[in-house]
């Protein structure tokens, strides 16, 4: 259990914040983006982000399974763990870049007013300035 806990805790990469925001946007888009062409563009961006998320989650699961195999083996050397972490980090950074790009693309097609309706600040939080 300790090793599973450590893996989960050490694998958080902040991507869940943008993932959750995009899922929320997918639900709001139909009512808040009334222009059909604009809505189509937004849905395409969100679909691409969802696909990237699915691929990355699959990769993260593979790394987790590999981590379990390594931890089970008495003879696993440090280098094997390091290589696994390096592979995970490269995947995380690429995924983060995809999420940031998707946010920027959405930003370019939505107005400020639409943005604030689609992504309202969580209660008790103020948008960063």
């Amino acid at each position: 259990v300790i090793w599973a806990l450590l893996f989960v805790l050490l694998s958080g990469s902040g991507d869940s914040v943008l993932q959750a925001a995009f899922e929320q946007a997918a639900g709001n888009m139909k009512t808040l983006a009334t222009d059909q062409a604009q809505r189509k563009q937004a849905v395409e961006i969100l679909d691409a982000a969802a696909e990237a998320t699915g691929k990355f989650e699959k990769k993260r699961k593979e790394v987790y399974d590999q981590w379990v195999k390594l931890a089970r083996n008495d003879d696993t050397g440090d280098e094997s763990f390091r290589e696994l972490f390096d592979a995970l980090e490269a995947g995380e950074q690429a995924f983060q870049s995809e999420l940031i790009r998707a946010r920027q693309e959405l930003r370019e097609i939505l107005s400020r007013e639409q943005w604030e309706k689609i992504f309202p600040p969580a209660s008790g939080e103020t948008p960063a300035r």
Binding site: A4, L9, G14, D74, D78, E89
Partner: protein, 151 residues
């Protein structure tokens, strides 16, 4: 389900929910680390080695607590940045980069701790400790499906 299953589920639930409930999270983590301490006290003879290994468990626990705190702070920062229409991609990249560096440093430390702990134990001791670890990993594998299903 064993108590360990419930403890891990509670911990993961706390993480997935944004860690709003610190006491249950800490209780679950404490329970898991206490289990490892009990294993070490039973398996390792020689007080100096045992104490050093227990110190490594403390270090692991501190690493986890730090990971939770840093992740929680970064998530709040990212939510606030995203809510702001004017946030630049550079601002996002900077937060992710900081988060990645913190995480990479913790992962390196985790590998170092494991290597140092292994060097302190005999091959037989390490195997016996690993047997406990394997049982835990079986449970963790089963739980992995629950992790994916969490909100």
């Amino acid at each position: 389900m064993t108590m360990c299953h419930y403890a891990l589920l509670a911990l993961l639930w706390g993480l997935a929910a944004g860690c709003a409930t610190t006491p249950p999270l800490r209780d679950a983590a404490d329970s898991a680390f206490d289990e490892l301490r009990t294993q070490l006290r039973a398996e390792i003879t020689g007080s100096a080695r045992r104490d050093q290994l227990l110190a490594y468990v403390d270090a692991l626990e501190n690493l986890m607590i730090l990971a939770v705190e840093e992740q929680r702070a970064a998530n709040a920062e990212l939510r606030a940045l995203h809510a702001n229409y004017d946030t630049t991609t550079e601002a996002f990249t900077a937060v992710f980069q900081r988060l990645n560096e913190q995480k990479s440093s913790r992962r390196q430390r985790l590998v170092e701790i494991a290597a140092e702990a292994r060097a302190l134990t005999t091959s037989e001791e390490w195997k016996r400790i690993n047997r406990f670890k394997q049982l835990a990993l079986e449970a963790a594998l089963e739980l992995n499906t629950h992790v994916e299903a969490l909100p």
